[in-house]
Symmetry: C2
């Protein structure tokens, strides 16, 4: 990691050769480069129009928001902001916001268990909890209580001081995760760091680095040092690289070493497929699409080859020991999730889910923060049932689902098939939605795909917040609708998830600057709009309806200007 | 219309100058051109790879399907096909499939009421009903019964013999509508005819021509003559053109004349905003977004100016007389639909809905086919309630909704925000989903937007069919998932809604033809795939699990090839 005395290892050697940093994240050196600069040529990430980074200040905390300035007398509108500090040279990494908080805790009363759950259960409200309380407009005590109960997690590795605290739980805003990561076939470190910055610009709340190719360790280092959001990984991928692709050679010692290596770098949560038990594997034999999780198939292979129980399951408490030392959260993987709607909610999936509930109890015994991964591919009528079972079996530990896709027939559009399921499952109580990009099933996402995936999932998460009645969620809808109805075009664009695209679409037909003040658009032209009539309707309602028709007619009543919908 | 003795009128003069065709649709002449060819330069519409137009033949009927040929021993897969006869010069219009059926009915036992509901209620099973029964895999008697009860409509103007019969009702496949149409600001006849052909290629079940600019009549003529699907319009738009944009000058005679003009051309359903009653207009005064329906605002303006009840409401039975003569179906417009999630399910909307229920009874008294339009903008938790009220108030007359959008904050992506709501509302019983394109709220959709809108809505409709447990709906998902799992890449592409896009996405990273046979893709590379392990799992399950591990290991068990999901 950055703070290491001897610089960073490049490559992904066996064992935990990178496992011994100094741990407090206060180092000041730049990220090292050896030979060619691995992130040369990173494009700049531009901001949002009419927006500025602002901070809500409270006590010693400065909590970032994006402040959108509106036209006329309308007050500025603040939105939750994941983009992190701007204008930082990625060679230097982000400022270490949490370093003093972490150092303070390690200096005073360190028990060896550094998890936010551990502090919460001892009644301690950490700065991270206070930060999150401001971000979510709740009390610090509420945050602490949710963490203590296990209903929420605050992923915050003590070696990732750059992260801005965020919380994942059903009683908070629904979050989204974006996956990035290179593979053996394609992409570079610079591309992945760019995708990270791009994903958080558009609103990713966490990012998973799923790299499987060369340079796993180095790619991860660049990502973590530049990430204002928690980073998740699937450590078994790196383990498999270390044994040259032969899953039979995997073992718990190698796995623990790899966890330590990654925890030292600052990974905030680990996907671990400890629920793929030997006995469940035959349950997948009659499936339409068998086992589709990479981690799940690796562990199934190991179990079958050795005809032994999954070592991640049998040695789960050893794993907990690593997790609590660094405050890495579990993301208990659903290795047997359905890969098609045909396989949804089947015996294999639900058997594994039962085991994840059992493992949740063990993790909580160690005060290790834990969330539970979920499907996948689920037709709409089976989504609610899936959430209800998860809530019961895993005692409301946060659910973290991949979509789900509600049909299998649209490769190329699975950000949409899955946004449908994601919105619904979010409404039903899922705490975080793992995005799906248009490239799902077809290839690795590029920059455009990352953006499309993030936007689709911001839509799903926000729709879920609205449906849950989250206090404050509808403010942005109402502000944008008001701007729309008042023909404040620029405000409508700027309040949207993607102002540039909204503006470009408008400008395709009406590019003149004057059209931004026009009380109509190209959909209906000037004769068919509804705003003027509604203004008149309002005036009449105020004055009472009686005998107003002649007065109204005298006032001149040409139908005038614009419309909201291109519909009938 | 095409069959007129004196050619077609160009332009949209006042009154029903085009109202007197010969009515049986047997004319053979080409569509006339005067001066410049209005559809010159139409691009060709290409087909789908590995697909052919085929016909299911039964008695005298030939019902189109698209037959997708698969690799190896896999049988071809037939999908519902809306694309119509291919390779026809649009100057000639499509063949008049239904002309002999219509002529036969007019020659034998014509009562003056030509609606499919009228025949159904008299116990007559028309060829249209038999055609639909084959398309939907149900019995003709079931179709007749659903039409007789009003739970379904079969839009089929006797002057649109080119249409291939289809049915809209909650007990059939969920349908989608695509809106096209030029406005005063932009687009040409050729563009609109191209959008029609493009929309039905991708799967639009009906198309609405919402033109509001010049050449309304001529544009519509070209569209109808080339449409294999029912065409809907909003006649009040043309009426408003006839009175030069002044809604006060609208009246029932002008409206009836316009209905006749359009019915003569062959429009299959009319959106009529007869539920915007005078007393409901003040209910919109306190809304966030007032009245956003164009038709609704026009009628509200008329009501306020005259301080009189909506003439579409008071003269509704006169309108029914026109509808039944041509078999034009009502699409009772929701002029007071919410234009923002803030206004969803409010008093104005529900008051109008009550009136639409009342009008449904009147329409049914005349045996006029009727569906009910619905919103709009509705947060997820209010969708089910909306459908349930509609079902009750309108006695299960088919519901035809615009989305709904489940959040207002994503202009530029409203095909997605609305596909979420559309999938859910379809599941809950909505019979047809009116698409929303990415340009919604911003501009008129171009060709790409039409495709994006149609695909998003095919996803929503199919997801709804799956969730409703429609027999047969899951066959396509299962066939595609099987192809995916067997690494039949070309089959996976060709079974999808948009094969070219799926293939292009795959080929971005692995363009070599050999990759189409590869047991991996660029997501995970060759080391991380799950198929081989599942094959092994299946083999072991067949042989029993006991003592197989050494045998398995001896057989050589390198983890091998490809994966389904780019996830953990």
């Amino acid at each position: 990691m950055l703070a290491k005395g001897d610089g960073m290892s490049h490559g992904n050697g066996n064992g935990n050769g990178n496992g011994n940093g100094n741990g407090n994240g206060n180092g000041k050196k730049s990220l090292p480069t050896v030979g060619a600069d691995p992130i040369a040529g990173l494009p700049a990430i531009d901001g949002f129009p009419a927006s500025e980074k602002a901070y809500v200040e409270a006590d010693d905390l400065r909590v970032p928001v994006r402040r959108i300035h509106l036209q006329g007398d309308n007050p500025p509108f603040d939105v939750y902001d994941t983009s992190g500090p701007q204008g930082i040279d990625p060679h230097h990494g982000l400022p270490k916001l949490r370093a003093p908080w972490i150092a303070g805790r390690l200096a005073n009363g360190d028990t060896g268990n550094r998890s936010q759950m551990h502090y919460a259960r001892r009644g301690v409200i950490t700065p991270e909890m206070r930060f999150v309380a401001i971000r979510e407009s709740v009390t610090p005590e509420f945050v602490r209580d949710e963490l203590a109960s296990g209903r929420a997690i605050l992923p915050a590795n003590i070696h990732h001081p750059e992260s801005e605290p965020m919380i994942i739980g059903k009683n908070f805003l629904v979050k989204i995760n974006a996956n990035i990561g290179n593979s053996a076939v394609t992409s570079t470190i610079a591309e992945e760091v760019d995708k990270l910055r791009w994903a958080v610009k558009w609103g990713a709340d966490t990012v998973m680095d799923l790299s499987t190719g060369k340079n796993i360790h180095e790619t991860r280092e660049w990502i973590i040092r530049n990430s204002p959001v928690p980073i998740g990984t699937v450590p078994i991928y790196q383990c498999l690289e270390k044994v040259h692709g032969d899953p039979e050679k995997l073992n718990i010692d190698l796995f623990i070493d790899t966890l330590i290596e990654q925890a030292e770098q600052g990974v905030d949560y680990f996907t671990i497929h400890a629920g793929v038990r030997l006995a469940y594997i035959p349950l997948t034999a009659s499936r339409t699409t068998g086992i589709v999780s990479r981690g799940g198939s690796i562990m199934a292979k190991w179990c079958l080859s050795h005809h032994r129980e999954n070592f991640l399951y049998t040695e789960f408490e050893r794993i907990c020991e690593v997790m609590k030392k660094y405050d890495v959260a579990f993301s208990l993987g659903d290795g047997l999730r359905p890969g098609s709607t045909a396989d949804a909610n089947d015996r294999a999936q639900l058997a594994e889910l039962e085991t994840l509930g059992e493992l949740t109890d063990i993790a909580w015994k160690h005060d290790v923060q834990t969330m539970i991964e979920g499907p996948g591919h689920v037709p709409m009528h089976k989504i609610k049932e899936n959430v209800e079972i998860q809530m019961k079996v895993c005692k409301e530990a946060p659910f973290y689902t991949l979509g789900p896709l509600v049909t299998d027939i649209a490769p190329g559009y699975d950000h949409i098939t899955s946004a449908i399921g994601a919105a619904m499952i979010g409404w039903f109580g899922t705490a975080m939605l793992c995005y799906v990009t248009p490239k799902e099933h077809l290839g690795l996402p590029n920059r455009d795909d990352v953006k499309d995936g993030v936007i689709a999932y911001k839509i799903a998460a926000h729709a879920a917040d609205l449906a849950k009645g989250h206090p404050g969620a509808r403010l942005r809808d109402d502000a944008l609708s008001k701007a729309r109805f008042e023909f404040r075009w620029e405000d409508q664009f700027n309040l949207s998830l993607d102002p540039d695209t909204a503006k470009d679409f408008h400008d395709e037909t009406l590019p003149a600057p004057a059209a931004k003040g026009a009380h109509f658009c190209s959909m209906c032209g000037p004769k068919f709009c509804s705003m003027k009539i509604t203004e008149e309707v309002r005036a009449m309602a105020e004055q009472g309806m009686a005998a107003k028709s002649s007065e109204f007619r005298d006032a001149g009543s040409t139908l005038y200007a614009g419309s909201d919908d291109h519909h009938h």
